[in-house]
Amino acid sequence: MNNKMKGIPITVAIIVISLALLHGLAFGSNLPPVKGDVLPEIKIPVPVNTTDRSYLGLENGDFFKIPQIKAKVVIIEIFSMYCPHCQREAPEINRLYSIIEDNPDLKCEIKLIGIGAGNSPFEVKVFKKKYNIPFPLFSDEDFSIHKCFGEVRTPYFLGVKINDDGTHQVFYSRLGEFKGAEPFLDLMLQLSGLK
């Protein structure tokens, strides 16, 4: 092998490693958050409608980060209007919302949001209307948030505890079917330390 030829595999290796690094930077090839993690740095547009803004305790503005939500616990559902499980579970998740909202001790402490992976604003609106979903849903049309969350399948649930000092930790991160409003709420209360 002459010197010129010897250089080729090294060049290939450098190109491939550079591509891998660039890919990681550009596309955020992450793993799903695990217990104890902080959330990836994602910015979500502040809801235009005052009901959603007030529910989340957000000021008017352009973007917010999930730990800015005024709550002790935020439950995030990564969903898609195209996902049969998400469709089937929607009424039960609405019931979870109602149980929380009807309980004066929990109402201000736990908030729910949904992020529509790959769903356009129109598609999120269709899902919200179809299942009469009362909590805020956000479009992640270009999958950018979905990528930050490790490209999980749907539905995927994350529980985030927000501390008094403004720090936060993920305490629940799991794919799969929702086993009912009451058991899920119990689990959230236990794992977050609210109970």
Binding site: M5, I8, P9, T11, V12, I15, V16, L19, A20, H23, A26, F27, S29, I78, S80, M81, Y82, C83, P84, H85, C86, Q87, R88, A117, G118, N119, S120, F122, E123, V126, F127, K130, F143, H146, K147, E151, R153, T154, P155, L175, G176, E177
Partner: protein, 200 residues
């Protein structure tokens, strides 16, 4: 040769990176039963019909056991044909469950949806069962393989069909054709807008 081998390696790796950057948001309803074919050429056929043409008729078996023709809707319903490339693949497995919750939009626009793939009936039966109960017929263009897809000009060189939508009015005239990137799900709002443009 070796130099070419290295170039192939670089392009191969690049393709793999680009592919892994393509997210589907796939439903857990299908668990691990989805075959990932990798990133495919966005389109790989040439349309044989255009907007304004009379839509070619067909007579295909449905998963329900009946046979359905396009002609049976003439004068009665607008028809949306949704060709998807293959059962048990990403994107396709999400697209129809989405349509399954918008029957009201089709009803409002006096339209029926016909889902078509080049898969055989048993495959379509097993696959669509994972989606829940679909309100629209699912048709098999398996034999002669992809004949209907071919008549519309959406049969790819590998025997799959494109991810394509055809909107046909009650007179049997094609009013909209959408042949998108096979790797991406078409936005629902595009189809809805076209449905709403039809004369009621």
């Amino acid at each position: 040769m070796k130099k070419h081998g290295n170039l192939i390696l670089v392009f191969g790796m690049l393709s793999a990176f680009l592919w892994s950057a393509t997210a589907f948001g796939l439903s857990d309803a299908f668990k691990n039963n989805i075959y990932n074919p990798g990133l495919l050429k966005p389109t790989d056929s040439v349309l044989k019909v255009k907007v304004g043409d009379s839509a070619p008729d067909f007579y295909l078996p449905a998963v329900s056991g009946e046979r359905i023709s396009l002609g049976q809707y003439r004068g009665k319903k607008n028809v949306v044909l949704s060709f998807v490339p293959a059962a048990w693949t990403p994107v396709c497995s999400d697209q129809w469950p989405g349509y399954n919750i918008v029957k009201d939009i089709f009803d409002k626009n006096d339209a029926i949806l016909l889902g078509i793939t080049v898969d055989n009936i048993p495959t379509l039966f097993a696959w669509t069962n994972q989606m829940g109960k679909l309100w629209f017929p699912v048709l098999s263009d398996f034999w002669p393989h992809g004949a209907v897809a071919d008549r519309y000009g959406v049969l790819r060189s590998d025997g799959l069909s494109e991810r394509a939508l055809f909107l046909i009015d009650k007179k049997g005239i094609i009013r909209y054709i959408g042949v998108g990137d096979i790797n991406k799900r078409p936005r629902l709002e595009v189809l809805v807008k076209e449905l709403e443009r039809l004369e009621k």
